[in-house]
Amino acid sequence: MYALREAIAAFRRAPVLTGLSAAMVGLALFVVGLFSLATYNLQLALSLIEERVEVVVYLRDDTRQSEIDQLLTELSALDEVGQVRYLSKRDALERAQTELPEFGELFLDSEVNPLPQSLEVELRPGDRNPEVVERISDAAERYPFVEDALYGEEWVDRLFTLRRVGAASTAVLGAAFALVAALIIGTALRITIFARKDEIYVMRLVGAKNGFIRRPFLLEGALAGIAGGILASLMTYATYHGVHTYLFDISWVPNLWVFIGLAIGGCFGTASSAVAIRKHLREI
């Protein structure tokens, strides 16, 4: 109770200083927020591309229906496979005419349908990676009536390389931004602790327990962190809104991310405060 009262009183006693420290926390977390927004949209874009990862099993023209049904059933039974669609020669031709209108006349003029029948194997999310597509492709190719099984090996490899680079840079840059944010928050809180060094001195002088001395500062750190987190969320949302309205279409991060951001802000504030007060208590 005392800790909460003192933490709030500290905000009231030095509104400029605490406001500034919350603003510094806010700016530090804003950078993290912008990074999160960019990362989220990049992930979203990669996921959309990833959804197109599938294996197309081309079948010989003389394949019997029973063989097609057997392959379809066996592929559907695999854990990684979400759905298997059969595409007859006619379906393939119709799709080609729709999707490739520039070749429309070529298809119409031809007396024989040159396109093969196929099975389109759609994978479950999480299994759309080079290892799985290769395994399914190899499994399909073992059937004698399968002409070929393709999955765009080159671009799938590139996509996953891009995804891995994205994940690594997200981790490295995210950690770097978080570290910078923690340092800034620590500095901001150290200033507020320094401003209250007389109080800490008196508390030590008269026999306040160390835990008791720390508590209001930890709470103040947590409040500054959360206040900074809210500020950072508002600034990030304003940036998102500006980009979304005037530049290009992007998505807002899931609300869970915002709550996690606020929680991280609070944790950063508390941890930075703990380090700063620990150092200060040792010095007095």
Binding site: M1, Y2, R13, D198, E199, V202, V206, G207, A208, N210
Partner: protein, 240 residues
């Protein structure tokens, strides 16, 4: 009560601030700790308050020994030992009442009792009418009274005073000394560091310790020789 056994304090760059000091301050005793500037008076008080630890020997304060007490338990000693300073060390921008109440709050006095107890402490030092005045608006003597009220908040058994009259005029000094005597009369020991020999002479019943370059050169209770800094005592001194 307070027992120092062969206590030394050596700082890495400064050398010895206190060297092989032993004495025993009894319950309800009033004692002066005197000596020139740099003789180790303040260090001695800090050792008793356990703000500093001796490099050799042991300080014993009501059952707590500097040799054994952990950092975590230091608060127990600090609540039993009140301390005041020449520069008061009050919290500026707060009233006299808030300064005293602050100590009560941070040492766990129930919230309901804080205000009334702080008022009583200020009344004890004769400052009840100035309770709501900001400390920086008070005179030096009044600020020192607030500091004393604050030091008494935990009902300590001893009051350590580091040159408490150093910044005060003659009248305020007399007032503070009267206050110390009142406090002492109620059973609290007082150990006051001062280099003001005139002040010491005005309190002939008090015990006197004298430090010189960190060594205890005189204890009025045990020494048979005259106090070194007051020799020659027969010659007129300043103010006489």
């Amino acid at each position: 009560m307070i027992k120092l056994t062969h206590v030394s304090k050596e700082y890495p760059k400064r050398g010895f601030a206190v060297r092989d000091v032993s004495f025993h301050l009894k319950k309800s005793e009033f004692a002066f700790l005197t000596g020139h500037s740099g003789s180790g008076k303040s260090t001695m008080l800090r050792l008793i308050h356990m703000t500093d630890r001796p490099t050799d020997g042991a300080v014993r304060v009501t059952g707590f020994s500097s040799a054994r007490i952990t950092e975590r338990d230091l608060w127990k000693v600090r609540r039993r030992v009140g301390m005041v300073f020449q520069d008061f060390r009050l919290l500026p921008g707060r009233t006299a009442l808030q300064n005293v109440a602050f100590v009560l709050e941070v040492t766990g006095t129930p919230t309901k009792a804080v205000q009334s107890r702080a008022q009583r402490l200020l009344a004890q030092v004769g400052l009840a009418p100035k309770a709501s005045a900001l400390v920086n608006e008070l005179s030096g003597g009044e600020q020192q009274r607030v500091a004393i009220a604050r030091a008494l908040a935990n009902d300590p058994f001893v009051l350590l005073a580091d040159e408490p009259t150093g910044n005060l005029d003659e009248r305020a000094t007399r007032g503070i000394m009267e206050l110390f005597k009142d406090i002492n009369a109620k059973g609290m020991a007082v150990l006051m560091a001062t280099h003001d020999l005139e002040l010491i002479r005005r309190h002939p019943t008090a015990r006197v310790f004298e430090l010189d370059q960190g060594e205890l050169v005189y204890d009025s209770e045990t020494s048979t020789k005259p106090q070194p800094s007051s020799v020659p005592q027969s010659e007129p001194t300043r103010g006489d």
